[in-house]
Amino acid sequence: MIEISNLTFGYSKKKLLFKNLNLKLQMGHIYGLLGKNGAGKSTLLKNLAGLVFPLEGQCKLKGYRAADRLPGFLQELFFIPEEIYLPGTSAVQFAQSTAHFYPKFDEGQYFRMLAEFDVPQTSILSKLSFGQQKKVMIAFGLATNTTLLIMDEPTNGLDIPSKAKFRRIIAGALTEERCIIISTHQIRDLDSLIDSLLIVHEQEIVLNKSLDEIAERIYFGSSALLDKEMVLYEEPHRIGLNTMSVNHNEVFSKVDMELLFSAVISDHKSVINHLN
């Protein structure tokens, strides 16, 4: 289990990004981390990875404190930042020199994913396009089979067919012993991929719910079908309204993450209160 307890963090003590933040993440889930620009998504991920140190509180993974960055902790975590660096070696040489640091690394899985992403195995990585480099990093990260896989804006630089492959590969790589966190501002890229949603807003995690829980409590639809009193949030689109309403009748609807995110960041407390 991944646990953040009483985390207070800021690049300066006067301007805090998080204050007394608490969060528990469970194995076997793919979390989507959403937030406005500057809300602190990348910073939260860096705190989890031990790349920045909290002013107060701590992040823990399997009993290891993230800020200590001990080998036992690093073996259980793979972090794919938004901007990546790969050395001037081939994908094969990269695996030969780096894979043995990860005890659960699966070489077959790595090469299968490279093939699926159409990445040449013998080309020099530093000379590949940004999108191709990103695919190598995603394939390597998944093949490490670490307990926690953190991806910050992984779909940046990927073309449309690669995004579809990315969703398929990620979904196939999830196991009960693994937790994946994906941060993005392109919410559509997470469609049919994540099963839990985290929204960071104004120094806090305002939402940490599975999509099933959200769908149980909120009905996503159009205004024409709804009792106006039940509407929690609505947003106009070209031919009508998108709405979120109390799901009294327990009717299943697909969670509109974009709409939910808009409601949360525009301070519609009724939505958050209803969900929490």
């Binding site: 001990l70 080998p71 036992g72 690093l74 073996q75 975590l77 930042p81 901007e83 660096y85």
Partner: protein, 259 residues
């Protein structure tokens, strides 16, 4: 699992570092060899084949500490680039192992490679120089009392300690910033040295060289105070203690590195 040091993990890290940087290091060795050949050859040429041992030692000394300081200041250059530093810091090896790889390359391997490169170039220059004359010039002997390796090593160790810490501490322009810091600190020491020595000894001194020499002038008599030779090991010990403090500081700075 040992989270501080594991020989297998350290070996893997050392091999990985070597595989990723051997081209850069080989290129650096090539540059050093070319520069040494140019300077040793030039001096031999302009002095009509009189490249003596003292000249060889002076070139060895200044190249050794100069090139070593520049090389050391770049050994943690990844930490100045957020993309590279994330890759480095997230690799499952301990801070100590990462530190040790950088230390071995910049302190031990550098000394070995530089000394071998110097002797290879020096030997060729002397062979060419001695081939046409009867008066043969001797090869530099770093074990001789007049041209000791120990003196070059102390100077290099101090500069290594400073630039090693600077390499972790500064994010960019490691060498220039470290050199500026040394210059400012040196200037400060020079400025306070004489007044401080005057206060300690209670007389107005004519000249003071830190740890080495003080001169007093009374009437027309000039007295030179020099440390006894028995104090030399203490001074060497103090110097290496400072170097150790700088190395330990670099380790803790690496441990606390944030991206």
């Amino acid at each position: 699992m040992n989270n501080i040091f594991n020989l297998r993990r350290f070996s893997q890290l050392f091999i990985k570092h070597t595989q990723e940087y051997y081209k850069t290091y080989l290129l650096s060795v090539g540059v050093i060899v070319a520069l040494l050949a140019a300077i040793l050859g030039f001096i031999s040429y302009v002095s009509d084949g009189n490249l003596g041992v003292k000249s060889q030692y002076a070139i060895f000394f200044f190249f050794f500490i100069g090139a070593g300081s520049i090389f050391t200041s770049m050994i943690f250059s990844e930490l100045g680039n957020s993309r590279k530093s994330i890759t480095m810091l997230m690799l499952p090896a301990s801070h100590f192992e990462k530190y040790l790889v950088a230390w071995i390359y910049s302190f031990l391997i550098y000394q070995l490679v530089f000394t071998l490169s110097f002797y290879a170039v020096d030997l060729i220059v002397l062979m060419l120089q001695n081939s046409g004359t009867d008066e043969k010039m001797a090869l530099l002997d770093l074990q001789s009392a007049g041209t000791p390796y120990g003196m070059a090593l102390i100077a290099f160790a101090v500069l290594h300690g400073i630039t090693f810490l600077g390499a972790v501490f500064f994010e960019k322009l490691h060498f220039i910033k470290s050199a500026c810091l040394v210059a400012v600190f040196g200037l400060f020491i020079i400025l306070i040295n004489q007044p401080l020595a005057n206060v300690i000894l209670g007389v107005k001194l004519e000249k003071v060289v830190p740890f080495a020499h003080a001169a007093i002038k009374e009437a027309d008599n000039y007295y030179a105070l020099e440390p006894q030779s028995s104090i030399k090991p203490i001074m060497i010990g103090m110097t290496y203690t400072i170097v150790m403090i700088l190395w330990i500081g670099a380790y803790f700075k690496l441990k606390e590195k944030q991206v």
